[in-house]
C-alpha cells in the first residue's frame, strides 16, 4: 500500500509562504516526480510528506490514515537523501540493518534482510566496509538499501543523484527505475533535472514558487503544457517562444515551438536566418539561428550529419500542428 493524499497542505517559514495551500493525490505504486527550479518548494513538499517539517495548514493522509501530526518514524516511509546521510561510524551492514534494529527485528531477520538487499544492490562484497571507504554510487546504493529493508509504504527520494557524476547518474537512474518495476512501491522523487523527471516518472508534478503548475504523465506535459512555465521547463533544449506579429497571426500573445518540431532547409521555408552557435552531439545537431526577425534566437534540431555551419543562411519551417499558443497570462489557448 502507499496512497498519499495532500489536502490543502501549506507551509510558511515565519512570514514567508513557501507553499500556498495545495492538493495532490499520489496513487499506490506510482512513480511521482516533483520537478521545478531550485527554490520552488519541491524539497520542502517532500519533507512535509516525510514529517521532517510540520505543515502550517491542511492534512496529509497515508493509506487513508491522517498522518499530519505523526512523527516521521511512524509514517512508514523511507527516505534517500541527496547527501546519502549514511551513519559514518557504522559498517554498511549496520547501516542497512539500522531501521530493522530500530524496529526491534531479531538478529536472524536482520541478517536475512540485509543480505537480500545487498544482493539486489550489488553490495555484498562491501558489507563490512564503512561509508567513508565507498564511492559515491556505492554510498547511494547503501542509502537505498537502508530504505528497502524497511519495506516502506512509499520511498521518498530527495535529489538522490545530484552528487554523482554524469555517467553514474544515468546508471543509477536505470537502477532506481528497475527497482520501482520490481517492488511496485509508491515512489516520490524530487529533482530539478527535467530529464530525470521525463525518463523515470509515471506522473510529473511541476512546481513553481510552491505552486503546482501542472500534474500529468511525461508525454502529457510534453504535448500539452498548460502554461508557458511548464512548456519552457519540460523538454530539452527549451521550447522557443515567439511573441509579437508572428504570434498575433496565430491569435495568441505568444507561440511556442520545440526545436525538434522545426524543419531546417538551405533551400527555402517560412523564416530566414543565419546559423550562430551550433552544437554537434553526434546523433543530433542543435543550431542557434539568429536574424530571423522573430525576437530571440531560435534553437532548432537537425540530424547529426547535416552539412550546415556557422554563418550559413537557412530557412526554418515549424510543423503547424505542433505549435503551442499562449494568451497574455501565459496560459495555453486550446
Amino acid at each position: 500500500m502507499g496512497r498519499i493524499v495532500l489536502d490543502k497542505v501549506a507551509k510558511r517559514f515565519g512570514d514567508v509562504e513557501v507553499i500556498p495551500p495545495l492538493d495532490l493525490a499520489i496513487e499506490n505504486g506510482q512513480f511521482v516526480v516533483f520537478v521545478g527550479p531550485s527554490g520552488c518548494g519541491k524539497s520542502t513538499l517532500l519533507r512535509l510528506v516525510a514529517g521532517l517539517e510540520d505543515v502550517t495548514g491542511g492534512t496529509i493522509s497515508i493509506d487513508g490514515q491522517d498522518a499530519t501530526m505523526m512523527p516521521p518514524a511512524r509514517r512508514g516511509l523511507a527516505m534517500v537523501f541527496q547527501s546519502y546521510a549514511l551513519y559514518p561510524h557504522m559498517t554498511v551492514r549496520k547501516n542497512i540493518a539500522f531501521p530493522l534494529r530500530m524496529a526491534g527485528a531479531s538478529a536472524e531477520e536482520q541478517a536475512r534482510k540485509v543480505s537480500a538487499a545487498a544482493e539486489v544492490l550489488n553490495l555484498t562484497a562491501y558489507l563490512d566496509r564503512r561509508p567513508g571507504q565507498l564511492s559515491g554510487g556505492q554510498r547511494q546504493r547503501v542509502a537505498i538499501g537502508r530504505a528497502i529493508v524497511r519495506e516502506p509504504s512509499a520511498f521518498l527520494f530527495d535529489e538522490p543523484l545530484s552528487n554523482l557524476d554524469a555517467a553514474l547518474r544515468v546508471g543509477m537512474r536505470l537502477e532506481i527505475s528497475e527497482l520501482h518495476n520490481r517492488l511496485k512501491t509508491t515512489m516520490i522523487y524530487v529533482t530539478h533535472d527535467q530529464v530525470e523527471a521525463m525518463t523515470m516518472a509515471d506522473k510529473i508534478v511541476v512546481l513553481n514558487a510552491g505552486r503546482i503548475e501542472q500534474v500529468g504523465s511525461p508525454l502529457e506535459l510534453y504535448r500539452s503544457p498548460r502554461n508557458r512555465f511548464v512548456a519552457g521547463f519540460i523538454g530539452s533544449p527549451k521550447m522557443n517562444f515567439i511573441e509579437g506579429a508572428e504570434a498575433a497571426k496565430q491569435g495568441a500573445a505568444a507561440i511556442g515551438i520545440r526545436p525538434e518540431h522545426i524543419a531546417v532547409s538551405s533551400a527555402g521555408g517560412l523564416w530566414r536566418g543565419t546559423i550562430g552557435v551550433s552544437e554537434h552531439l553526434g546523433s543530433d545537431t542543435f543550431f542557434n539561428v539568429n536574424g530571423t526577425g522573430l525576437g530571440a534566437a531560435i534553437t532548432v534540431r537537425a540530424g547529426g550529419e547535416v552539412d550546415l555551419h556557422h554563418g550559413d543562411t537557412v530557412w526554418l519551417t515549424p510543423e503547424a500542428d505542433k505549435i503551442h499558443r499562449f494568451d497574455r497570462e501565459g496560459q495555453r489557448i486550446a
Binding site: A50, L52, P71, P72, A73, L77, A78, M79, F81, Q82, S83, A85, L86, Y87, P88, H89, F98, P99, M102, A103, A143, R146, R150
Partner: protein
C-alpha cells in the same frame, strides 16, 4: 637566500617557543625539585637548583600527617562524578540547541557563558547557606553538585560546537529509519561525537580536579579533595616549603599523567572548529 632566511626564522621561532614553554613550566619544575629538598635547602639563598641533598623525607612526612589516598579518592569522585553529571545534562541540551535552535538559542548560550564571567565569591554566602541548610556541606555529593553546575556552561558550549559540525540530515535519516529521540541521541549522535565528547570529558576532569574556590570553601575534613590537602600545608604551619611542595606534587601528579597521555585528544578538542 630565501632558504637560509626561513631557516633562521624557524630557529628563532623554535627558541622562542621553548623559552615560553620553559617559563610556564618552571614553577612546576621548581615545586617538583623543592619537594626533594630538606626544609633548610628549600629556603636557602641563593636558591639551590640541582645540587642539594636529595631526600624523600617530605613525602613520608606528608603521608604520615594526612591521608593522601582519602583526598585523592575524593578528588576522583568529585571530578569524574561532576563530569558525568554534566554530560547527562549537557548532551540533550546541546542537541536541542544545535539541531532545533529557537529564536533565543544564541542568547541562551551567551547567558550561560555569562555566569562564568561573574566572580564566584559573589555567590559564596548564599551558596554556603544553602549547602548548610540542606546538609550538603563537606559531602562528596555536595561537591559533585556544585562542580557540575560550575562547569556546565563550558561543557554545553563545547558539545554545542561539536554537534554543530554533524550534518543534520544524518539525524533526520535516523528519524526516518524509525529511531526514537533517545535512540537517535544514543546510537547516532553520540558515537559520531565521540572525539568531541572525549575531549570535553578530559578538559572538564582537569577543570574539576583543579577547582579550588568551591572545594576549599564548602569542605572541611570528610569530603576534602586534593586542593584542600595542599592548602592545609600552606597557611597554618608557616613556611614549610618542602612539605608544601611534596603535597603539591602528589596532588598534581595524577592529572599531569592523565593530561600527558591524552594531550593529542585535548589539543584536537580545543582547536576543533577553529581550524576547519
Amino acid at each position: 637566500m630565501a632558504r637560509s632566511a626561513s631557516r633562521r626564522r624557524k630557529t628563532v621561532v623554535t627558541l622562542a617557543a621553548w623559552t615560553v614553554g620553559l617559563l610556564i613550566f618552571f614553577p612546576i619544575l621548581w615545586t617538583f625539585l623543592t619537594s626533594f629538598k630538606t626544609e633548610g635547602d628549600a629556603i636557602a639563598s641563593p636558591p639551590k637548583f640541582l645540587f642539594f641533598d636529595w631526600t624523600l623525607e617530605n613525602y613520608g612526612a606528608v603521608q604520615d600527617r594526612s591521608d593522601y589516598l582519602k583526598h585523592f579518592w575524593n578528588s576522583v569522585v568529585m571530578s569524574v562524578g561532576s563530569t558525568l553529571a554534566a554530560l547527562a545534562i549537557a548532551i540533550p541540551a546541546a542537541w536541542s540547541m544545535a539541531f532545533v535552535p529557537g529564536r533565543r538559542t544564541k542568547d541562551l548560550l551567551m547567558w550561560m557563558l555569562s555566569t562564568k564571567m561573574m566572580p564566584a565569591v559573589g555567590v559564596l554566602v548564599p551558596m554556603y547557606l544553602m549547602f548548610r541548610d540542606t546538609g550538603l556541606l563537606d559531602t562528596r555529593i555536595g561537591l559533585v553538585i556544585v562542580l557540575t553546575l560550575v562547569n556546565l556552561p563550558i561543557v554545553v558550549w563545547m558539545l554545542y560546537t561539536y554537534f554543530k559540525e554533524i550534518p543534520g540530515e544524518i539525524l533526520e535519516a535516523a528519524r526516518m529509519d524509525g529511531a526514537s529521540l533517545r535512540a537517535e541521541i544514543l546510537y547516532v549522535l553520540t558515537p559520531m561525537a565521540v572525539p568531541g565528547i572525549a575531549s570535553t570529558v578530559l578538559l572538564n576532569i582537569i577543570l574539576a580536579w583543579n577547582e579550588a574556590f568551591w572545594t576549599l570553601n564548602l569542605t572541611a575534613a570528610k569530603a576534602a579533595p586534593l586542593t584542600a590537602f595542599i592548602a592545609s600545608y600552606s597557611s597554618p604551619e608557616g613556611l614549610f616549603y618542602a612539605k608544601l611542595s611534596a603535597a603539591s606534587t602528589m596532588a598534581i601528579a595524577p592529572i599531569l599523567v592523565m593530561g600527558w597521555f591524552s594531550q593529542k585528544q585535548l589539543v584536537r578538542g580545543l582547536t576543533f572548529g577553529a581550524v576547519k
